[in-house]
Symmetry: C2
Subunit: 100 residues, 2 copies
């Protein structure tokens, strides 16, 4: 493998003892991360509005004031800023999250 | 943020001084990784057949025996096992890659 670039490394974040990890990128829709969640139940908080889209897998999501719902690949859901939301998955899930 | 699980951490791989990084997951299509590439030109080698799909961004790809072509979000391309292929990007790219 070889390359020609002098870019800074991709920013990598790890949560919940590494069972949720993400990689940051800039997109034409603004800042984003792609990430993977291992099976489990997680509660996240938002600082800015977020749009999440499942890339692979099935994600159970409980948005503020709503019932649990299942989201599959390519299905987006949005969360306002300064909110808390719950997710759970029985198998690995990949996602992309857009911020702002 | 909180969680309830006792899973092993997501496997994280870093290439080219961190300008390409990936996170591994199991999917119903088999082993996969989601990853991010910073701007640059990269040459990869395959051990097993791979199917790559751009998740965000634009990726210039030169597959074995083919001309350069641009791939956008949701457009898959496949590479046979034991091949080398070139990619380049002018902006960050997120992808998912399925193996086997």
């Amino acid at each position: 493998m070889s390359t020609t670039n002098n870019e800074s490394p991709v920013a990598h974040n790890s949560y919940f003892d590494g069972t949720v990890q993400s990689l940051a990128l800039a997109t034409d829709k603004g800042k984003a991360t792609v990430g993977v969640m291992k099976p489990g139940k997680y509660t996240f908080g938002t600082a800015a509005p977020e749009e999440m889209i499942v890339v692979a897998g099935e994600l159970n999501v409980k948005l503020p004031g709503e019932d649990w719902a299942v989201y599959y690949a390519h299905q987006p859901f949005s969360i306002a800023a300064n909110q808390s939301f719950d997710v759970s998955c029985d198998n690995d899930v990949a996602y992309i999250c857009y911020y702002g």
